[in-house]
């Protein structure tokens, strides 16, 4: 009937989400805010009407991709914290290409820009993969360092190459290169929803296929599970490390490129690394790196961040309550042992009762 591991694979995230919302409610009650009203405006802010749904789906797009990126490296046993930097470089590359080659026809320009974004992200995290494979340098440190280098580089490049003197933002990309179209805008009452969303969905399916149906994907998971055994089985661990980090960066770069072409339409000098890289980590953690689970987790987190905006519109509750909920959810995912323990206890109790009952039945007969 119920397989225990399968049950806990579904039950843990669901229970974590519920527990996270409960923590958020408790915090709101402590500070005198009304959780029911706030969760109500959160839900309607995320899902009521075509506009809200469009915004939520748009917010999902980069989350799906950065989460997939994090998942790919995690499956191979590596911790790519560099999602933010790779995303930023992808965003920059896409805008740079579109502005410099604006004479190209629309579709060619879009494809060119998206490829450039993916490549920029991939090469950037590929550095970390290469250093890890050949020098054993901790990828945790290199990706953190690469994040900051990317951050300062993009600020420098935007300031010096893409903006007029004294300005902080580049020009907008030509509308033919935008992933937003009148069709989608009409459909969602002028939200920022764009075609990138469908690309992200497609990529999620591809990554699922890659993990489960290809040799390279199998090697990746194998190295992540047991490096020594994989080496013994004749797999090239070095190659797998580099491939995993490269693919991971491609996905984060893609996220930045799609956000650049669809959401922002330009790039500005910023004063901190984009948060979406870290949020993608949270999404992947909630989904336990399962590509299809990532879609659901990204929907939840996007709904939280878009819906969270209306919390402070309709009440004095600080928007940060949403991030408290998010962090709590991940905390509960982290301590899944506690849930598994409870589930186990519950199931064994049930089995015991069943056994006792059937034993009673036997006696009667």
């Amino acid at each position: 009937m119920f397989n225990k591991t399968k049950l806990s694979a579904i039950a843990v995230p669901v229970m974590s989400v519920i527990a996270g919302f409960i923590v958020g409610a408790i915090v709101m009650l402590i500070f005198g805010y009304n959780p029911i009203v706030n969760y109500g405006s959160l839900f309607s802010g995320a899902f009521s009407g075509a506009y809200s749904i469009g915004e939520t789906l748009r917010d999902m797009t980069p989350l799906i991709l950065t989460a997939l990126g994090f998942a790919v490296s995690s499956k191979a046993g590596f911790f790519n914290i560099g999602g933010s930097g790779q995303y930023l470089l992808g965003w920059f590359a896409a805008i740079l290409v579109t502005l410099k080659f604006h004479t190209l026809p629309g579709l060619v320009l879009i494809i060119f820009a998206i490829l450039a974004a993916a490549l920029a992200g991939g090469l950037w995290s590929g550095i970390a993969g290469y250093l890890r494979a050949y020098f054993g340098t901790s990828e945790v440190i290199t990706t953190i360092m690469l994040n900051y280098i990317a951050f300062y580089f993009v600020n420098f490049a935007v300031k010096n190459w893409l903006t007029a003197k004294g300005e902080d933002s580049s020009a907008n990309i030509p509308s033919k290169a935008s992933l937003r179209t009148p069709f989608l805008e009409n459909l969602t009452q002028n939200s920022t929803f764009h075609w990138g969303f469908f690309i992200a969905l497609l990529v999620a399916v591809i990554v699922w296929f890659y993990f489960n149906k290809t040799n390279s994907g199998f090697e990746l998971r194998s190295v992540g599970t047991n490096e020594a055994a994989s080496r013994y089985a004749g797999m090239s661990v070095k190659k797998t490390i580099i491939v995993a980090m490269f693919v991971s960066g491609i996905l984060a770069g893609l996220a930045g490129g799609l956000d650049g072409l669809g959401n922002y339409q330009n790039i500005s000098v910023s004063n901190s690394l984009p948060q979406v890289g870290y949020d993608g980590m949270a999404v992947a953690l909630l989904a336990a790196n399962n590509p299809l689970g990532i879609l659901l987790a990204a929907l939840l987190f996007a709904a939280l961040s878009i819906g969270g905006l209306s919390i402070s519109v309709f009440s004095t509750t600080p928007t940060e309550i949403v991030s408290i909920v998010t962090a709590s959810i991940i905390f509960f995912v982290g301590i899944k042992y506690a849930f598994e323990y409870l589930i186990n206890k519950f199931l064994t109790k049930k089995e015991l009762i069943k056994k006792l009952n059937s034993a009673k039945g036997d006696k009667k007969a």
Partner: protein, 319 residues
């Protein structure tokens, strides 16, 4: 600008920027030496920065000039309380250390900015602190020719304290019984347990010390550099401290040295403008230098970083 003044500027900015990193990196060293990976240093710093800022703003009238120094302890204590979350999750509930640390990094800014808005009329940042740690001139030492001006005039007192703490921490870890036991549960918890060492207790000690020092480091950051609290008060210093710890090979002296180096690198964009032959170099290189150098040094000189053997491994006691 004369040469000695230039030296003084370089040394004092280096020390000011290094101080928060040293405390936090030492905290990370204690935690990881006991076997608990700590990527949550950033979150601990945020909590320390927040609580110390609120303390100085609220109690300045009561404690006067001592407020700033007390606020550092307040930041440390709240950092310690916050780190209990990490300790319970990793030591008792078998959570993945990296996930749990990431939770600290997600939770701290969320909670602290939330509280800032509750306390300060919906604003996302606290007002400016009236009096920070400021600079300090050593009474006798500053009279020494050249060195006195370069090292002991208008400098950061707390940074000297941090360096001293680095030495004390080394002595504690490598020359005392408690230190030996703390390291043993990070290297081989099973063996340590066999010898009657309470693994959980020492791991708690390691994590709570990291919370205390991380909170202290965050407080130093707020009281000496940003002088208020907002979401951007701590922007990557926790990760820098983590890097310093690894750079220093999980050794308190190494971590202190690495943190000083990062401090120097961070002071370069500030003092670079005064140094004649560096004035025309693009600021990007100064900004990126610490990170590039870290990678290069790690690759060339260290190769595989040697973490404590059981770092990140949950210890499940057999009943």
């Amino acid at each position: 600008m004369s040469f000695t003044t230039l030296l003084m500027t370089v040394f004092s900015t280096t020390l000011i920027y290094a101080a928060p990193l040293i405390f936090t990196a030492l905290g990370g060293t204690f935690s990881e030496r006991s076997g608990i990976v700590n990527v949550g240093l950033e979150g601990m710093m945020v909590v320390g920065a927040f609580s110390s800022s609120v303390f100085t703003l609220s109690f300045y009238n009561m404690f006067g000039n001592a407020t700033t120094w007390i606020s550092l302890l307040v930041g440390a204590i709240f950092g310690l309380i916050f780190s209990i979350l990490h300790a319970v999750a990793t030591i008792n509930l078998r959570a993945d250390h990296i996930i749990s640390g990431t939770v600290l990094n997600l939770m701290a800014p969320a909670l602290c900015v939330f509280l800032t808005r509750v306390l300060y009329n919906q604003k996302g940042q606290t007002p400016i602190i009236k009096q920070g740690l400021g600079t300090y001139t050593f009474p006798v030492l500053s009279k020494i020719p050249i060195i006195g001006k370069a090292l002991f005039t208008q400098t950061s007192l707390i940074a000297y304290f941090a360096i001293l703490l680095g030495i004390v921490s080394w002595y504690f870890l490598y020359r005392t019984n408690i230190g030996l036991r703390l390291r043993s549960v990070g290297e081989n918890p099973v063996a340590a347990d066999t010898l009657g060492i309470n693994v959980y207790k020492y791991r708690y000690l390691g994590v709570l010390m990291s919370g205390f020092l991380g909170g202290f480091g965050g407080a130093v950051m707020a009281q000496s550099i940003t002088l208020n609290f907002s979401a951007s008060t701590i922007s990557g210093q926790g990760f820098m401290a983590l890097a310093a710890m690894i750079f220093g090979k999980w050794n308190p002296l190494g971590a202190t040295g690495a943190a000083l180096f990062f401090g120097l690198a961070q002071s370069l964009p500030i003092v670079g403008g005064y140094i004649p032959f560096l004035a025309h170099v693009n600021s990007f290189w100064f900004q990126a230098a610490p990170y590039i150098i870290t990678i290069v040094v790690l690759v060339i000189f260290f190769g595989k970083a040697v973490a404590p053997a059981a770092d990140g491994v949950n210890y499940i006691k057999n009943k």
